[in-house]
């Protein structure tokens, strides 16, 4: 368990390692494959090389690699096992496995189950049956021997429960069932805690004289939350732990129903202390929202306490000073209060108009708060009862009104009030009605926006006292109190200095009133729903805890929680801890409700006969497949190395006609996958800039040298155009005819290379559309010099061009006539040389009509959509980065290059301006008509 424990199934095989030196010697002798070279003058070498040839040595790393490979295979064959495990079982006969599967097992449940599975697996190997027993009795195990396979299945499905183990019942079951089967070995997978009934179990296990093993968790870290109370001042509870040996810091977190952290405390356990208290003194608003307390980093059902108090609907009793007037409900003092309280509390009205009778009636119903609306004089008896109730934690909410204002009874009021009321903004007053001032931070109302629309016309005034300010929860703008409150022992008395109807102020009409009442009522202590003796309430499960303390949906075995006056609800398999009820009001059922002690199970107390074990962290691990895997990887590396040394992996020179197929295909696929997204983005960008600026364009043929030349040629022509003409094209762009948008380019240069792929029909359809929409394409076969043999056959480039054009709708062509506008569109030229001279430039044949005779320029309608040359224009235009020509013209003649550039300018001007130049022949006539 500690360090690396490695055992071998067949250690004698390790003798094979002795052979390693021999293998090393053999490996050193094998020469690597020589470099192969074609060498025509090999005959000369034959004279020079002596016949004997000593074997060269392998590189040392290759030898090392092979030796390691051999050693690994030998080791793997010997069957190494990490953490070899000895047999855990003794004796013969069924194996009894007792598992503590309660809440305390949650921390190391997986290890526990692993141990149980190991035991069952060993029982299977030994052919023994297995008896399973769970101390919570939450499993379908019936305590009878089952086959080991079935036991494994049962164990795989087992989960620990949020329940307390019952060792007494377990002992009974074991005595009745398991012991009858005469178990040969007993294993108790304990959770490490000793309970009051644990001795029963120990006794039961000792009844048979067999091998016994006791499994204990390595260190008992269990801590639980117990006895949580939400008092008005603070939320407090106790933390209990079993292991008291060391000081420990525990973090406790309070969350609301949605799991949001509301409060967190760090609690320190001193050394030797088993219980410590904690308290949350957050504002009551926040505290009341806490629904779940949990210990961080401790995952079991005991470390979670659920709180229901704050979320229960309060019972609020209403008592009014006047009779209900059903005909004018809006004038009833309780009307607005009822409307404001209804959404979040249960209202109780007294049936009796008599206050003295109604108060005990309401108190008997267990109200949390009582609202007294404009009751001035309280009967003596009722006042005493109420006072007592308040000091026990009741919440008394009083509203002023005409009666209270004149009443001399000053009992059960938070502050002393002036007799009479104060009128604001009346006919006889200088003052105007007062709005409510913003709520102070320490007030329970803080956070509520002060209602600007609320004005108070009338109020009762408090007598000036030294502690008035501290009792004031809300004031008017002039500082007079609107709401005052006083705490009496555990309870509160709250006074609204206005009436509860709309006569004194419009506060009861505002939404703020609802919010204020909610805050006030929430302050009150929930009394819980009182259950009368005969009543039984059934609550359906809402959210339940699992063994690890997480909320889960109720399972099928869960039954509704029955509350009755007789007994407290207890946690059982049918009623696991959790929330029961509905979202609006629910009851929490907790595992621990107070006075819990955790005692550790001391192995010494068990007496002899228990073989103490601990849950193994490590299980046996077969290293053989992994060693073989590493050896296989080394073998693959060795193969690669041999291939590499033999030259099989060399990248062959990529020849356009004979590419290394696999590499090209792989690279191609990779590039396609990578580039599809990129080119798409780029495409739009290029389109965008192309639409804004004229650019020269060429077709990317896929033959690298041709494309480079085209790019350089376009660059050269761009430079020439910028220098000589008003046209300043942008950076030239290479086009993929199959995908790129062509509409932005007036002239596209298309070099024909026999090696380039012929575009498919779809691409040619695009090209056809482009040409029909007014674009021009300049085809260049670039083969004028390598020529046509005797004119009898076409050159490969010409054949290629023919194939391309076969898909296009091509008009009749002619060589550029000497009077064509193309010869005059910028420079006056008579031929169109490129790198070669002599080839003709072919364009669409223009109709020669009689009327055009005598004109200096002839033009067809529109621009020729196709131009064909064989003079290698791009070759003549091509310049390098320093604007020096890349290729010589044939013959080497600087004038020819200049003419080539001029031809290019004319072509571009022709493509851009069309017949404009031809139309200019009319200019003299036009000027004459204008009288210039």
């Amino acid at each position: 368990m500690f360090g690396l424990a490695i055992g071998f199934l067949s250690p004698w095989l390790l003798m094979g390692l002795l052979a390693l030196p021999v293998i090393w010697w053999l490996l050193r002798l094998t020469p690597p494959r020589p470099q192969e070279e074609v060498f025509p003058p090999a005959g000369i070498l034959e004279k020079l090389i002596k016949p004997e040839e000593t074997p060269a040595k392998s590189p040392w790393w290759l030898t090392l690699l092979r030796l390691m490979m051999t050693a690994l295979v030998i080791c793997a064959m010997a069957g190494p096992i990490l953490n070899p495990q000895e047999s855990l079982l003794e004796g013969e006969g069924p194996v009894l496995i007792v598992i503590d599967d309660g809440w305390a097992a949650a921390g190391n449940w997986d290890e526990r189950r692993e141990v149980a599975l190991t035991l069952a697996a060993q029982a299977r190997e030994a052919g023994r049956t297995v008896i399973l027993e769970s101390t919570t009795n939450s499993t379908p195990w019936d305590g009878r021997p089952v086959s080991a396979e079935e036991a494994i299945k049962l164990l795989e499905a087992a989960q620990n429960q949020p329940l307390k183990p019952n060792h007494k019942n377990t002992a009974t079951r074991i005595l009745t069932n398991a012991i009858q089967a005469k178990p040969g070995h007993i294993a108790w997978l304990s959770d490490g805690l000793s309970r009051s009934d644990t001795s029963n179990l120990i006794a039961a296990l000792k009844t048979v004289n067999t091998g016994r093993s006791l499994y204990l968790p390595p260190a008992n870290e269990l801590v639980i939350i117990d006895a949580v109370q939400n008092l008005p001042a603070k939320l407090r509870g106790t933390l209990v732990r079993g292991n008291t040996n060391e000081a420990r810091e525990i973090s406790i977190t309070g969350r609301d129903l949605k799991g949001v952290v509301l409060a967190r405390r760090k609690i320190m356990f001193e050394n030797g202390v088993s219980e410590t208290e904690f308290a949350f003194d957050e504002p009551v608003e926040l505290r009341n929202q806490i629904a779940r307390l949990e210990l961080d980093d401790i995952n079991n059902a005991g470390a979670v306490q659920l709180l229901d108090e704050s979320n229960q609907r309060r019972l609020v009793g209403l008592i009014s000073g006047e009779k209900h007037d059903q005909s004018q409900p809006l004038l009833s003092p309780l009307y607005y209060i009822s409307k404001a309280l209804e959404p979040f509390s249960d209202l109780r009205r007294s049936d009796d108009a008599n206050v003295a009778a109604s108060v005990p009636q309401l108190l008997a119903q267990g109200v949390s708060a009582i609202v007294l609306a404009d009751i001035g004089l309280l009967p003596e008896e009722a006042a005493d009862t109420l006072g007592e109730w308040v000091s026990k934690g009741g919440m008394l909410i009083r509203f002023a009104g005409p009666r209270l204002a004149v009443s001399p009874d000053r009992r059960l009021l938070p502050v002393d009030i002036r007799p009479g009321d104060r009128s604001l903004g009346g006919a006889l007053s200088w003052e105007t009605p007062k709005p409510v001032a913003p709520f102070e931070l320490q007030s329970p109302f803080s956070g509520i926006d002060a209602p600007r629309e609320v004005v108070v016309n009338k109020q009762v005034l408090a007598l000036q006292e030294s502690d008035l300010e501290s009792k004031t929860w809300a004031t008017l703008e002039d500082g007079t109190p609107l709401v005052t409150a006083e705490q009496r022992d555990h309870g509160w008395i709250v006074l609204f200095h206005v009436s509860s109807d709309a006569r004194w102020s419009n506060l009861p009409l505002s939404g703020t009133f609802v919010e204020m009442l909610r805050r006030v009522v929430n302050l009150s202590k929930s009394t819980g729903r009182p259950i009368t003796e005969r009543e039984e309430i059934s609550l359906s499960p809402l959210r339940l805890l699992d063994g690890k303390g997480n909320f889960v949906a109720p399972g099928i075995s869960v039954k509704p929680l029955t509350l009755s006056a007789e007994h407290e609800p207890t946690v059982s398999l049918e009623n696991p801890p959790g929330f029961y009820g509905t979202e609006d009001g629910f009851t929490a059922l907790n595992l621990f409700t107070g006075q819990t002690k955790l005692a550790l199970l001391n192995p010494e107390d068990l007496g002899p006969g228990f073989n103490r074990q601990s849950y193994l962290g490590e299980s046996p691990f077969d290293l053989k497949p992994w060693l073989l895997l590493v050896a296989a990887i080394l073998l693959a590396l060795d193969c690669l190395a041999v291939f590499w040394m033999g030259g099989a992996l060399r990248l062959r020179q990529l020849h356009p006609r004979s590419p290394t197929p696999a590499i090209i295909v792989l690279l191609g696929i990779g590039a396609m996958l990578l580039s599809t997204g990129i080119t798409h983005a780029q495409e739009n960008e290029i389109d965008f800039s192309a639409a804004l600026r004229t650019r020269l364009a060429y077709v990317i043929t896929g033959v690298k040298s041709v494309d480079n030349l085209s790019a350089a040629g376009m660059r050269g022509l761009t430079y020439f155009l910028s220098n000589r003409t008003a046209l300043e094209p942008g950076e030239p762009v290479g086009l993929d005819m199959s995908t790129d948008e062509l509409a932005f380019y007036s002239l596209i240069y298309w070099p024909i290379d026999p090696q380039a792929a012929i575009p498919d029909a779809a691409t040619m359809a695009r090209v056809d559309a482009y040409m029909k929409e007014g674009g021009s394409i300049l085809f260049d076969t670039r083969d004028q010099i390598s020529g046509v043999f005797g004119g009898t056959s076409a050159s490969p480039a010409a054949l290629s061009l023919r194939q391309i054009l076969s898909n296009l709708d091509i008009p009749p062509l002619e060589p550029v006539p000497s009077d064509h506008v193309l010869t005059k569109s910028f420079f006056l030229i008579d031929s169109f040389p490129g790198r070669f001279s002599g080839g003709d430039l072919w364009i669409e044949a223009s109709q020669k009509s009689a009327e055009q005779d005598g004109r200096p320029a002839r033009a067809g309608d529109g621009v020729s959509s196709i131009l064909i040359t064989s003079n290698d224009f791009a070759g003549a235009w091509a310049v390098d980065r320093n604007l020096r020509p890349l290729l010589p013209t044939v013959p080497p003649d600087p004038i020819q290059r200049n003419y080539a550039f001029r031809g290019g300018v004319n072509l571009m001007m022709y493509a851009l301006t069309g017949n404009y130049k031809a139309d200019q022949v009319h200019l003299p006539a036009l000027l004459e008509r204008l009288g210039q």
Partner: protein, 321 residues
Amino acid sequence: MVDPEFFHAANLPLVGHSPMSPAIGTSTRRETGREIMGRARARAALIPDLLVEARRVANTVFSGWHGRRKRGVGENFWQFRPYVVGETMARIDWRRSARDNNIYVQDKEWQAAHTIWLWVDESPSMLFKSDLGTVAKQSRAMVLAFAMAELLARSGERTGWMGVSRPLLSRNAAEKLAEHLAVAPVQTEFPAGSDLGNHCDLIIFSDFLDPVETTVSRLAELAKSGVRGHLVHLIDPVEETFPYKGRVEFQDPESGAKIIAGNAETLQQAYSAEFASRSTALRQTTTDLGWSYTKHHTDRLASEALVALHTHLGSSVTGGQ
């Protein structure tokens, strides 16, 4: 300034060699006339017209286009001279004779074509191309041969290709030769016993890797028939520098024989000396025969060899007059 090998520059391999790097040399595919033609023409365009040394031009029935600057058979006017009795009456120029009392004969300028044979060794060893050379030897030899053919045709010489075509006198002789070559069998051996005729020139493009003795005896045989030979010795740079290292297996592309060198770098000196001695032997032989010898490395420009050949073929024309 300009890289005439632009089309090949794109395919230039990396130069460099380590014991485990890819092989230095490879056998390339055979290039044919069509592809070579454009490159050859580009080379030929750089060279001025070539007039084959007239001294060597014997009387021949074939008329060429080049005036030999002396009286003879031709079409262009050369001179009027007095009629000598015995000459045929048909040669009298009556128009000139009518102007005075003498009778004149119009002489034409002698226009004669010279016959020049080309032969390119296309044996497998010629297909060798190393990382250091720009093209294969065969490719370079073809370019040179076609460029020569183009040049010669431009000058009106008769150009033939040993084993492929008889001598042609045509402006587009180079193209025609290429057409013939396209259908002719591959020339791996010098055509033995072929009748070249007297007083013609023969340009042999080869790597001359056969044993030196064989080559020398073959050349001597040719020289007996009065042929003036021009050897162009094509060498891949690797064949001369021998940059191999470590354990290398050399394969002869012609015979397929393999030979393993354990430490190739130790052979370098001995090999270079041996290779140089072969070149020297060849040069000596040609000097003895009165022939010319041009060594050409494939990493150099083709034009260099062309200029050298041009000099050898036309030396006396420029130097003599």
